[in-house]
């Protein structure tokens, strides 16, 4: 565990990092970024927490089983969205033109509309959830493991 200053600063930065990560995830279809990148940003915050506090303490608030459920559900939402198009073809983008995220942007350069992209924003969220949970679980498990504790089922 590092000094009090480091811990306080980490605590203060954590919400900002999470918000920035969520911004990158949400705007994946308009700006550079997406689920993987935004998820990695949030996980970098988790790593910072891991450095500032130790893994034992972090374990109390980030539980393995919660992370595992989050990851599985993210993956299931992702593949479920791909399955949703099977009325036409597997992985068909069926939400383009529908009321949900269905606007079609004008052709050519435009300022961007968040309500576009069909299933793309939804999939970005699913992937983001999966990446946050999965990479946090890996980082936490490795930290716990190298500090000598074996992780249980």
């Amino acid at each position: 565990m590092l000094s009090k200053i480091v811990r306080t600063v980490t605590n203060g930065f954590m919400p900002i990092i999470i918000i920035f990560g969520l911004y990158i995830i949400a705007h994946g279809h308009l700006t550079p970024g997406g689920g993987f990148q935004g998820g990695a940003v949030v996980v970098s915050g988790v790593v910072m927490l891991l450095v500032a506090f130790n893994s034992q303490e972090l374990k109390k608030s980030l539980r393995e089983r919660v992370l595992s459920i989050m990851e599985s559900s993210g993956a299931l939402i992702f593949i479920g969205l791909a399955f949703a198009g099977i009325g036409t073809v597997f992985a068909y983008n069926l939400l383009v033109g529908s009321p949900i995220f269905g606007h079609i942007p004008p052709t050519g350069p435009n300022p961007g509309d968040i309500w576009t992209g069909g299933v793309i924003p939804l999939m970005n969220f699913a992937v983001g959830l999966k990446v946050i949970a999965g990479l946090s679980a890996v980082v936490l498990a490795l930290a716990l493991f190298s500090s000598g504790e074996e992780v249980e089922e």
Binding site: S68, A82, V89, F90, N93
Partner: protein, 522 residues
């Protein structure tokens, strides 16, 4: 029913994926729920594979374009290059699909009781499903980059499974070797994909084959792809990972990792025959394949003879048997440009090589399972410490005999059928190669007979008096494969005509594969 067949290529890959994602959630409901769920999903997938196989064999190649407005629409309306990822299922793909599905089914049933009381079962089942997905994706995909992705899925899942017994150092080393080899070969594949993409700006295998110019860069790409997949299939100069990994992988997964190796062999054939088929100097490439095959055959069996670890011995035999497949197909490839020789023995040589894949996977999976059964009961793989096991483990002993006779090419088991095809055709091509092949077969028989005498017969060891037969699920798993081995041995003609011949045809004649995507381009 019609739409079921249309969507089955996607479903076969997607359903096990859903199962893999859902298993960590479902396992909260207990052991029984998880087993039932995996078996139900897998039963469904097996049914789909059977339906698809019938369809592909009767109608022909099936294309599935992901995300298009219609599954068969490979090219976007009015455009000349394919844009989306597609699956292309032809005779060879579905042949691999049948092998992988059967082995996985047997392995899944075999594993049900094996893991009782061990930790990490949830992840074990999840990884098994992922390994299956990776292999099926490799077999079905018609897109180079997608092939890389599925290759990585299969590699990572296989490495995780191989290192399952974390309390043993050699298990981790086996897993580590496997993942390093896989990562390096996958990156070589990716580099080759980059080279191909830079020239033709397409990623579909069919479109690449259509536009192929065979420039210097294409040759470099072929070298990279060939090296990578020979490494993955444990061909001899690059075989060093195979014994370690096969030896340590836990029950049920050794056959699957074995099947993954032969899926890599399938990809190698797909690349040489379909992607480069028209352009390469097939005699030279054929001879390279033959030399790799003969080396694997010979060195594999020579290393196998003096092993005392039963699974390690079987792993070296797996390398050696892989040589037979390469030999058969290599002979066919060497005479590909010569229509007379191709008709008289080349086609039969490829038939033999391809038929040997299915035979070998089945009997070697059976043998690995019997070795694991012994390990399960007595906790050692050292043949010197075994003895008199046939008294208490009658089923296991019987399955071992079936597998050992099959691998040595004794009639009427399936190893004989495919080896005979290879001997006959290779004899016409080059008698020396045939003699080597027969000699290797004899050594194989000797080596397996030796293990049988030391492990199953002889005086009953006092330490093993209480040894019981393995649980029912393990026997059922082995029985499925043993039944296949015997059935294939008794009716080889049936199998060759119905399953193997379409696969060979798909290899030799690449035009349908290309035209299914590109249309009938002149």
């Amino acid at each position: 029913m019609d739409s079921l067949i249309t969507h089955s290529p996607a479903l076969i890959v997607a359903l096990p994926l859903v199962a893999a994602f859902a298993i960590p959630l479902i396992s909260r409901a207990g052991y029984r729920a998880r087993s039932t769920f995996s078996l139900v999903i897998f039963g469904l997938v097996t049914f789909l594979v059977a339906v698809l196989a019938v369809d592909v064999h009767s109608v022909g190649i099936r294309v599935y374009t992901f995300g298009a407005t219609a599954a068969e629409l490979a090219l976007p309306g009015g455009y000349m290059v394919p844009v989306r990822i597609m699956f292309q299922v032809d005779g060879m793909s579905i042949f691999m699909g049948i092998i992988i599905t059967t082995v996985t089914l047997a392995a899944l049933i075999y594993s049900l009781h094996f893991l009782k009381g061990q930790t990490g079962q949830v992840r074990f089942y999840s990884l098994m499903m992922l390994l299956y997905t990776g292999m099926m994706g490799l077999a079905f995909t018609g897109d180079m980059f997608n092939l890389f992705v599925f290759l990585e899925i299969a590699s990572i899942a296989g490495a995780g499974l191989a290192a399952y017994r974390t309390n043993m150092a050699d298990a981790l080393e086996g897993g580590f070797k496997y993942i390093v080899i896989s990562a390096v070969s996958a990156l070589m594949v990716l580099f080759a994909i980059g080279i191909l993409y830079s020239q033709y700006n397409v990623l579909s295998i069919a479109a690449l084959a259509n536009y192929m110019q065979y420039t210097t860069l294409d040759m470099i790409a072929l070298g990279l792809l060939g090296g990578a997949f020979v490494m993955k299939l444990a061909g001899v100069p690059l075989h060093m990972w195979a014994p370690d990994t096969y030896t340590v992988a836990p029950a049920g997964t050794t056959p699957m990792i074995l099947a993954a190796s032969y899926t890599s062999m399938y990809v190698l054939y797909r690349i040489t025959f379909t992607l480069y088929g028209v352009h390469i100097d097939s005699t030279a490439i054929g001879w390279i394949v033959i030399v790799v095959g003969v080396l694997s055959m010979f060195i594999g069996v020579m290393m196998a003879v003096h092993q005392t670890d039963i699974k390690r011995m079987m792993a070296y035999h797996a390398i050696s048997q892989g040589g037979y497949m390469l030999l058969g197909v290599g002979v066919g490839l060497a005479v590909l440009a010569n229509p007379v020789a191709l008709a008289s023995y080349g086609r039969d040589a490829i038939n033999g090589g391809v038929f040997h894949i299915i035979n070998h996977v089945f009997y070697k999976a059976l043998l690995f399972m019997t070795a694991e059964a012994i390990f399960f009961r007595i906790g050692t793989r050292d043949t010197n410490k075994m003895g008199g096991l046939a008294r208490n483990m009658k089923w296991t002993a019987a399955f071992y005999i079936i597998g050992a006779l099959a691998i040595s090419g004794i009639p009427p088991l399936n190893g004989f059928a495919s080896k005979l095809l290879i001997y006959e055709t290779v004899l016409q091509f080059n008698p020396v190669l045939a003699v080597i092949a027969m000699f290797v077969s004899l050594v194989t028989l000797a080596s397996f007979a030796k293990v049988f005498y030391s492990a199953f017969t002889g005086p009953e060891m006092p330490a093993y008096r209480e040894v019981r037969e393995v649980p029912k699920s393990m026997i059922i798993g082995m029985a499925i494969l043993a039944a296949c081995v015997i059935f294939f041995g008794i009716f080889p003609g049936l199998i060759v005509d119905n399953i193997v011949a379409p696969a060979t045809e798909a290899l030799i004649n690449q035009a349908p594969y290309i035209n299914a995507v590109m249309g009938a381009v002149p």
